[in-house]
């Protein structure tokens, strides 16, 4: 297989005031791979993710997604999504006033109709194909019983899973997951891992930011370790496990 890079981060630096948040980050995400970014609290993981999707503007360096420059402010969030990048947030961002089914249908519309479409003459009921697809996905997530419940009333774990479903229905080329299992019970975490593995088989590229090493080592093909804003190590899970620098900087203080 050719090593095609979906996302390339080249020479990115970011400072807040005098504080260096990211130092000379170079990272290439290979197509079809699951790439995990780990690191202790305050290592700059979220800053890196927000820089990737153009929410933060780096001081220098570039971020390219399949040849398109995403560097800070160049692309709108919806523009980046339309390129095929979906994102799961650390605190779930869903539509609390809509039902689960509608929550999942909305991103499907975005995928099908683009950033704006004025379609009032075909009622929701007539969108049969899209509905069925959304319903199937909810079944995959074992949430079909909740399809007509308002999403605002879900538990936090279910909200996270719903958000994941909302991303998956778009079949993104790149899925960014910001601690997808944080705050979940072990049982839910395992279910989510299974789900993510299933997607992996479909060949979707993913970037995961995660604390939970269990999740990381179950899913990741490659791992980058971030410490104090710099990548101190990168490699396969096995390489990382044995990496002395990592042990010193990070794993020494955490359990695996």
């Amino acid at each position: 297989m050719s090593k095609r890079h979906v996302l390339s981060i080249a020479g990115v630096n970011k400072t807040f005031g005098g504080l260096k948040a990211l130092t000379d980050i170079n990272l290439n995400i290979e197509e079809g791979k699951t790439h995990a970014i780990i690191g202790p609290n305050g290592a700059g993981k979220s800053t890196l993710l927000n820089t990737c999707i153009g929410r933060l503007k780096p001081d220098n360096g570039t971020i390219t997604f399949e040849g398109t420059d995403l560097t800070g402010g160049n692309m709108t969030p919806h523009g980046i999504n339309q390129l095929g990048v979906s994102r799961v947030f650390q605190t779930p961002e869903i539509f609390p006033d809509l039902t689960l089914l509608q929550n999942v249908m909305i991103p499907a519309f975005a995928k099908r109709d683009g950033a704006f479409s004025f379609n009032i003459f075909k009622g929701l009921r007539e969108e049969k194909q899209l509905r069925d697809e959304a319903m199937h996905l909810l079944e995959d997530f074992e949430m079909q019983n909740l399809a007509h419940v308002h999403a605002g009333s879900l538990s936090r774990g279910n909200k996270r899973r719903l958000e994941l479903a909302m991303c998956l229905i778009q079949h993104p080329k790149l899925l960014l997951l910001d601690e997808p299992t944080a705050g979940m019970a072990r049982h839910d975490t395992n279910r989510t891992i299974d789900l993510l593995k299933k997607i992996k088989e479909r060949g979707m590229t993913k970037v995961i930011i995660e604390h939970d090493m269990h999740v990381v080592f179950s899913l990741a093909d490659r791992i980058s370790v971030l410490a104090q804003g710099a990548i101190i190590a990168e490699g396969t899970p096995d390489e990382i496990k044995g990496h002395p620098k990592v042990r010193e900087a990070y794993l020494g203080t955490a359990e695996i």
Binding site: I53, T76, P77, H78, N81, Q82, S86, R87, F89, E93, I94, F95, P96, D97, L98, Q102, M105, I106, P107, F109, A110, K111, D113, G114, A115, F116, S117, F118, N119, I120, F121, K122, G123, L124, R125, E127, M166, Q170
Partner: protein, 375 residues
């Protein structure tokens, strides 16, 4: 949001038919509540339309505009100018009003929607107040200021002149020979109200409507889901602006006059009150709210001692005196007080408006029925 329901087609058709029946029979049921005369019925329809349109913006997206009266005024002015320059026929007047209010809505909406929340409200308020102040004074050559834009039998009316239509002594709008005042005017308004209601229902049941609610619900998610919220918001803003323009046009059609005070911020506040009072974000609520407020304005304000005395004449004198003492502050010149109290009560106890009240009462019935069935 309860209103975005995936209702079945038959149910929707049924709702629409009921609505049509209620609107068309308004002169009959209006009689029982003292509202059975053309002007008030016209006002019900016109402000109902205004509120329906406003609800598409405020109810679905949550953007609270304090400037929609500006579009109402623009619609009225455009209509009267069409009557003056082109023809007394209502069709070109409506088209002209819709086009002009749409242009205004695009410009004001484009600028105002760059901000959200209270900033958006203040921006719309500022635009409307500027329009009002200018229309009242500096723009008098176009608007005839305080007096309001009126028709004259000597106006040019080029289309009518070309078609050889005789100028009337008292110019009244018409629709191919039917003079649009009195009940004919009401039915013209009613037809457009029904059309407006149908379109609003379409929007409520469409992906577009669902996306508007999604924007209200979580704008960040909406953006990261691949939607650009601003064109959606602008479309909703323009649609509601056009509804307002259409309402303004109808006002000028049934009564050919356009005054600046239609654009004042308090007039914008009125449509907010209507929408909230009836039930924001619901299909029927805004129309109910509009009818309630117009009913208060026209019927409650006309209640004087004489009327109260005759209303309480069945009571013994001492009791009727007490009844008058208790009700008098809220009617006649006190109808604003009544409105304020009612409005506060609704916001505090029934945030879903009259519609929620109806639903709760319906809920009680349903429950008691269930209990019976269970037993």
């Amino acid at each position: 949001m309860q209103s975005i329901v995936e209702s079945s087609r038959t149910r929707d058709t049924f709702t629409l038919l009921i609505f049509i029946a209620v609107v068309l029979t308004a002169p009959i049921w209006g009689e029982f509540i003292g509202a059975g005369y053309p002007d008030l019925l016209q006002k019900f329809a016109i402000f109902g339309l205004f509120a329906i349109g406003y609800n598409i913006l405020f109810g679905l997206t949550g953007y609270l505009s304090f400037g929609h009266a500006a579009f109402l005024g623009v619609g009225s002015y455009a209509t009267v100018w069409s009557f003056k320059l082109l023809s007394m026929n209502a069709i070109p007047a409506v088209i002209f009003a819709v086009a002009l209010s749409a242009i205004f809505a695009v410009v004001i909406g484009y600028l105002s929607l760059r901000r959200s929340g209270i900033y958006f409200s203040i921006l719309t308020l500022a635009f409307a107040q500027m329009s009002y102040n200018m229309a009242y004074s500096v723009l008098t050559p176009i608007t005839n200021g305080e007096t309001g834009l009126q028709l004259k039998s000597s106006d040019p009316r080029v289309l009518d002149a070309a078609l050889g239509v005789e100028p009337q002594a008292v110019p009244l709008a018409d629709l191919f020979g039917i003079t649009l005042n009195g009940y004919a005017g009401f039915y013209f308004c009613a037809a457009i109200l029904i059309l407006g209601f149908w379109l609003s229902m379409k929007i409520f049941r469409s992906p577009f409507g669902m996306k508007l609610v999604a924007i209200k619900s979580n704008q960040t998610r909406m953006e990261f889901t691949g939607f650009s919220p601003r064109p959606y918001l602008l479309t909703a803003f323009v649609i509601s602006g056009v509804y307002a323009g259409l309402a303004g046009s109808l006002m000028a059609i049934v009564d050919p006059l356009a005054g600046a005070e239609r654009m004042q911020w308090t007039a914008s506040g009125e449509v907010v009150l209507m929408t909230i009072l009836g039930g924001v974000g619901t299909l029927f609520g805004p129309i109910l709210g509009a009818a309630t407020i117009k009913y208060f304005e026209n019927i409650f304000s006309a209640i004087n001692n004489q009327v109260l005395e005759s209303a309480y004449s069945f009571m013994p004198e001492w009791l009727s005196d007490i009844a008058i003492l208790l009700t008098r502050p809220f009617v006649g010149e006190g109808w604003h007080l009544m409105l304020g109290v009612l409005f506060m009560a609704i916001i505090i106890f029934l945030p879903g408006g009259i519609i929620e009240g109806v639903r709760r009462i319906g809920g009680i019935f349903k429950k008691s029925k269930q209990i019976e069935e269970d037993a």
